[in-house]
């Protein structure tokens, strides 16, 4: 009996690891490759075969995409979609899922693993920047691509680049929209966990609301809150209900990952407008089991992570090497951020508002209009003051 139990417990423990870890097919492939390599060392025909394969692969670089968890319907999935396009083009892309922050002690091991398997390019989000910068010096032949982070060039090793998305520009546009659509004169922005990138979303949004006020003589206020987690929709829902009740807010912008689902639900309950983030969240709900959730999502601020990977690897393939050691900034001008302009948006948003947003988009893209960024603030106090002044 005890034996059975210990087996059961071990099984239970290993289940907890299932949620993270690489996709199983990828792991088997990797294992097969290692075996092949081992066989190759022993000589014989196998060696010739492996070499031939390696040569075939050499034409397209091998990419390892390191993410926390797929299935977030936004950030990581958008990156994976881009990687799928690259896969179709013949790139050997291996996606590694490392799990949430409780598995942070394993992050470095995961990256070391793919490096040892000989992947040429490591693509990973801001979470892994420090680890990558350290490994970049140990592995000078590999190339490291961090995304969604804003490092200055002197922080970056020569074999590393960093993709930064101008989320403030996209948020500016939905901020204008929120201000225009608000009937009560208060709009909300609700985030998961505060960090520089998230604060950049907030800064752009507030800037958009303020500029709409200045242009139209309105006095729309912004209320901001954080629910403290990316996976706590319950707290998020309560936050939004409180903002409806006590702040009288009626348009809500979610920058909260999974917790954002709680915001949509509160909006459905209260009949308020919501604005999605990262990917087209209207599209992800309209064909789902709960289409009523789509009916509150006016638009979504887009952050085209996947597209940025595709264009980056295309320019690498063309022989461009100017990105190494620098941060690449992608904004409206590069079509890397934006908003969803679908039928639902067109039906529900008055034409003059749509035109105004479209005009602002053109102006920002051309550089005529500059959107305030979190990175412009000297410190957090200045940012907090900015948020408070908007409320």
């Amino acid at each position: 009996m005890k034996k059975f139990l210990s087996v059961a417990l071990v099984a239970a423990m290993s289940l907890s690891l299932v949620a993270c870890g690489g996709s199983s097919s990828g792991e088997t492939e990797a294992a097969a490759e290692t075996e092949a390599a081992a066989a190759a060392e022993e000589g014989g025909e196998a060696a010739a075969e492996t070499e031939a394969e390696a040569e075939a692969d050499a034409e397209k670089p091998r990419i390892a995409y390191v993410v926390g968890n797929l299935g977030d319907k936004s950030f990581s999935d958008s990156g994976e979609a881009g990687m799928n396009v690259l896969r179709e083009e013949g790139y050997d892309v291996y996606t590694v899922e490392t799990g949430d922050a409780s598995k942070a002690d394993k992050y470095e091991d995961y990256i070391l693993d793919v490096l040892d398997q000989g992947y040429d390019y490591i693509v990973a989000s801001s979470t892994y920047m420090e680890i990558m910068a350290r490994l970049a010096e140990e592995y000078p032949d590999a190339k490291f691509i961090g995304f969604d982070e804003n490092w200055s060039d002197d922080q970056l090793p020569d074999n590393m680049t960093c993709i930064f998305y101008a989320q403030n520009e996209g948020s500016y546009l939905v901020g204008m929209l929120a201000a225009a659509m608000s009937e009560t004169g208060v709009v909300g922005v609700d985030v998961g966990v505060e960090n520089p990138v998230i604060n950049d979303f907030v800064t752009g949004y507030i800037n958009g609301v303020m500029d709409w006020n200045a242009a139209n003589g309105t006095d729309v206020k912004v209320v901001k809150a954080a629910c403290g987690s990316w996976t706590d929709p319950a707290t998020m829902k309560s936050l939004v209900l409180d903002q409806v009740r006590n702040n009288n807010a009626d348009v809500f912008y979610q920058v909260a990952g999974g917790s954002g689902d709680g915001l949509f639900e509160a909006c459905v309950e209260q009949g308020k407008w919501a604005i999605g983030v990262d990917s087209d969240q209207y599209a992800s709900y309209i064909d789902s089991e709960n289409p009523e959730k789509a009916d509150v999502i006016l638009t979504s601020m887009l952050k085209e992570v996947g597209n940025s990977f595709i264009s980056l690897f295309h320019s690498i393939e063309e022989g461009d090497d100017s990105m190494w050691g620098h941060t690449i900034r992608l904004g409206l001008a590069e079509d890397s951020v934006g908003y969803v302009d679908n039928e639902f948006f067109q039906t529900n948003v008055p034409e003059e508002v749509r035109t105004a947003i479209e005009e602002a988009k053109t102006k920002i893209a051309s550089g005529e209009l500059e959107v305030k960024s979190y990175y412009d603030f000297a410190d957090d106090n200045e940012f907090n003051e900015y948020v408070q002044n908007a409320g």
């Binding site: 319907k73 954080a226 929709p233 319950a234 936050l239 709960n290």
Partner: protein, 308 residues
Amino acid sequence: MTIDWIAFIAEGIRMATPLVFAALAALICNRAGMFNMGVEGMILCSALGAVIFAHYGGSVWIGLLGGIIIGLATGMFIAFASLTGKADLYLTCIAFNLMATGGTVFVMYLLTGEKSTTSGAFRSYQIPVVDIPIIKDIPVLGRIISGQSLITYIAAAAVFFMWFFLKRTRIGLRIRAVGENPKAAESVGISVNKIGYISFAICGVLAGLSGAFMSMSWVTFFMKNMVNGRGYIGLSAQNMAKGEPVGSALASLLFGFTDALATTLQNQTNFPVEFLEMLPYLATIFAIIITSIIAINKRRRIEQGAAK
């Protein structure tokens, strides 16, 4: 700044509901002499179980039943490991919580192909909100007491039943006897294992209700890690009240209200978010200090009385 304090109280009660169940679930095991840390994982599993049953059964009631069944099953699983298998209860519970975190995502992925939430793949069901006739027309009280989720009323009833069960029934007495001195209880012919299983069964049903509230009332979908430590808070709530049902419920309400207060303060004031997030836990520490001071004073008085 105009805060709707009546709605605030109603919200505090809503936020306390899963905590009350979690506290009662931990309490019954505690009274039987078992410190059940697995409540957190049991709630998480039940939350997922509820949405799965509701989706495939096509009814909110099947979902509620499903949540309870899964809660019961997980309770039996831990009981089997620790009572029949004689595995260390703490280790079993830690392993179980880890398993629940990964296992729920795994099951969700098998059924829906999603790794984060069932909000798109499963139809949402909500346990009905009850408007109590007459009471709902009473000015202030009506807005607080009426219009809560059905499960919230079940929570209030559960507190009373737990008190009655422990104090006034034969089996309740046996549970307390086993909890206080298992060897003595065994010597008078009480089966410690049987009592343990019964406690875990009750614990499972309560955890199931807590999970169903999370995924079919507060919000109407399952999301990975959506319990976010509420099971542990329930555990400390019953600890604070030294295993008394009414006290545990009051402690849970205290946590519910600090949670609601953190929410409201965040929207109405400029307090740093980190400070507000800290509030419920700060309240825990203070509450534990206060309760232990009271306990120490009480003991000292008894000792002084004995010395006379």
